[in-house]
């Protein structure tokens, strides 16, 4: 892989614009079929170790506050529950959790280890998920490019008009 291509690629990341996502999962399918039909994007082993991941069931859960899809809820039993079908996999909860008990592997629609489709980068193409996204919700860009469009980059991976609220 040419060095210049590699250097440029490492500055860019796949960024999700929540205001554009229509939940079509074209990105998921593209990743799945583009990576040897690996089941990693939804159901991911976290490695050779099995670690207990215990939610603290916070009384004032930050993950519920930041969820743009209202997928995280504090139910009447004071259990913080995640609606898997509402979850967009944005990872806001992962970053908001002060105890780090959430991982991207628990949040659906994400691949365990994204390689930015190195095979496509080598050909000067964008990662598959970005290419197939019909609405431009997924972009392959630098943080500066995102902010130049007037969007807020949250955690370097999510963009939108507001870090917490959706439209």
């Amino acid at each position: 892989m040419p060095e210049t291509t590699t250097a440029a690629a490492t500055e860019k990341r796949v960024v999700l614009d929540l205001d554009r996502c229509i939940e079509c999962k074209s990105c998921m399918a593209a990743c799945y079929y583009g990576h040897g039909r690996a089941t990693g994007i939804n159901f991911v082993d976290i490695g050779p170790a099995v670690l207990p991941i215990v939610c603290r069931q916070c009384g004032d859960p930050a993950c519920v506050d930041v969820c743009p899809a209202k997928a995280m809820k504090l139910d009447p039993l004071n259990v913080v529950a995640r609606g898997v079908f509402s979850c967009r996999g944005c990872g806001s909860c992962v970053r908001a959790c002060p105890f780090g008990v959430l991982s991207l592997e628990m949040v659906g629609h994400q691949v365990a280890k994204c390689d930015l489709c190195e095979d496509r980068l080598a050909r000067g193409l964008e990662p598959r998920c970005v290419a197939v996204c019909p609405t431009g919700a997924l972009r392959y860009a630098t943080a500066a490019e995102i902010e130049a469009d007037g969007l807020v980059a949250l955690g370097g991976r999510i963009a939108g008009d507001h870090p917490i609220q959706r439209r």
């Binding site: 079509c24 074209s26 089941t39 609606g83 290419a131």
Partner: protein, 552 residues
């Protein structure tokens, strides 16, 4: 077994026909015996939706039919292809009542060959198209309104979407999003379930009541300004006509989601509104070749599939379509009991093929060059995505072996290369527009079938693939939070839906936006479609049905 690349695959002239967006598609080597989707620029978009991506797995699927078989007999020693075709031809020509049903998503020339075969054998013939697609085509075609393809939506400055288009046709969303660049204040009006993703992006939403004709009544209310039939909630539609008329280039995007009568009524109302607004209509169909299939059926004297099944021919040849899944078991069971000889030809095993006395292998439509009509004025030629496995003929080759003569200029429908047949508008059948008012009762929810971005409409082409199964292993029921609470259901929990045709275990998604009393159930699962209990004399395939829901 490994499919071989078409000699033209590098030119990317193949098309996905799993909806009428018709994305160009190309495959690339992903390993010694595996293909991965590659992406072809298409009017500013270069990709495939989740359904189209499945093609890469489907073409090399381990279960595909490669040789003749006798599933229902369980007999060993199925004949070779030549002998099997001779046997099938003899069965069709034996003087018994025979009928031929061809899948509407076959290419135009294959459908025409089915007509010729039926004529040669004195058999009735029919083209299967999802009832909603057929209704929409009948309602819009020959209406005189102007049409547009999804790519043309980028220039629209006022859009009305009927149906959950972003879910059922995600690639079409690309050009709708393009239209909104620089036009953020332009109206994007949606008539669809408020719990669907399309509604999330609307500037205004109207959620029709479930039941036949709900969306059509809403469109009529926009046009006439009289929303009395919709009750107080119809006031939400006030001003929509003015909003659409305020655009210089308005467009109406319409996808039919229920049954034939609902779609027919909807198509008629959309056409009437479009002509008043001078708006272009972009129809979205499940079958990529729905428009071509319906027109050819009309021009070629095809009878409705329901008529074929009602008569129960002694010999039935079905090409490429799984009627048992598409229409539901209750709809086809009576007919199949009368059929003495069921011959099925297609690429993948299905519920119908497993009941056949003789199965003939064919290639997928995508494995041969052909023509399709994606919509009015949108005829395409496509090349083969891959060559079929060695020894597997195309459906057209099978029909020719069975006795379909060559295309002739004198036939009612001209052969390959002629556009006139495919451009002639289909006549409107006499099915009355439905409109049974929905009466909500405490007993059961009114459940309607739902399309989604993951699965082909009846799942027949996507359910065998591994990705859709992993994403959604069981049908999804979207239900209002109030209804879920009443039935002790929780989001992401499981439930059992009991309908006239049986019961099915489902996954539950609750939504505060879903209208209480009505729900949506994934249409891509055979067992879910069976639960609806559709029949040919009502409730008709695609119609919403009242069902009980309980916690699993």
């Amino acid at each position: 077994m490994c499919s071989e690349p078409s000699s033209r695959s590098g030119d990317a002239a193949a098309r996905c026909l799993l909806c009428n967006v018709g994305c160009p598609v190309r495959l690339a080597r992903g390993g010694p015996d595996r293909w991965v989707p590659d992406y072809v620029p298409h009017a500013g978009y270069a990709g495939l939706c989740g359904r189209g991506s499945v093609l890469a797995e489907l073409l090399d699927h381990a279960d595909r039919i490669l040789a003749p078989a006798r599933p229902s007999d369980g007999a060993d020693g199925a004949p070779d292809l030549q002998a099997a075709c001779e046997e099938a031809a003899a069965a069709l020509g034996a003087g018994k009542a025979a009928a031929i049903v061809v899948d509407g998503n076959a290419d135009l020339d294959t459908i025409e060959a089915a007509r010729r075969l039926a004529a040669a054998r004195g058999a009735r013939w029919s083209v299967f198209v999802p009832p909603a697609d057929a209704g929409l085509v009948h309602g819009l075609d020959s209406s005189g309104c102007a049409f547009a393809g999804p790519e043309d939506l980028a220039s629209a400055d006022a859009i009305l979407i009927v149906g959950n288009a972003y879910a059922t046709h995600p690639v079409a969303a690309h050009w709708i999003f393009e239209s909104r660049k620089g036009r953020r204040r332009a109206p994007l009006l949606v008539i669809a379930d408020a719990s669907g993703v399309t509604a999330d992006f609307a500037t205004a939403v109207f959620q029709p009541r479930a039941g036949v004709g709900g969306a059509a009544r809403a469109v009529a209310a926009i046009r006439t300004g009289d929303a009395g039939a919709l009750g107080p909630e119809g006031r939400a539609l006030a001003g929509w006509k003015a909003l659409l008329a305020g655009g210089k280039s308005p467009a109406i995007v319409v996808g039919a989601e229920l049954g034939y009568a609902d779609a027919l009524a909807l198509g008629r109302e959309v056409a009437a509104l479009a002509k008043e607004l001078k708006a272009r209509v972009c129809p979205l169909t499940t079958y990529g070749n729905a428009w071509g299939a319906v027109r050819l059926a009309a021009a070629g004297g095809a009878v409705p599939v329901a008529d074929v099944l009602a008569d129960g021919p002694e010999v039935l040849l079905v090409i490429g379509t799984d009627l048992a899944t598409a229409l539901g078991s209750r709809a086809v069971a009576p007919a199949l009991q009368k059929v003495r000889r069921l011959i099925w030809a297609g690429p993948m095993p299905s519920r119908l093929s497993r009941r056949a006395s003789l199965v003939l292998p064919t290639a997928f439509t995508f494995e041969a060059a052909g023509r399709a009509l994606l919509g009015p004025g949108r005829e395409i030629r496509f090349d083969a995505l891959l060559r079929p496995p060695a020894g597997v003929p195309t459906a057209l080759e099978v029909l020719t072996r069975l006795g379909a003569g060559p295309a002739s200029l004198g036939s009612a429908v001209a052969g390959q290369g002629a556009k006139a047949d495919a451009s002639r508008p289909a006549s409107v059948s006499a099915a009355a527009a439905g409109g049974a008012d929905d009466d909500y009762t405490p007993e059961g929810l009114l459940v309607a079938p739902a399309g989604d971005a993951i699965d082909f409409a009846d799942g027949s082409l996507t359910r065998p693939a591994s990705w859709p199964r992993s994403v959604r292993p069981r049908p999804l029921l979207t239900v209002a939070e109030a209804d879920a609470e009443a039935a002790h259901l929780v989001d992401a929990g499981r439930a059992v839906v009991e309908g006239p045709g049986g019961s099915v275990e489902v996954a539950v998604a609750t939504s505060s936006a879903q209208r209480p009393g009505q729900a949506r159930l994934s249409a891509a699962f055979a067992e879910a479609r069976d639960a609806f209990g559709w029949t040919l004399d009502g409730p008709l395939p695609g119609d919403p049905v009242r069902m009980r829901v309980r916690k699993a």
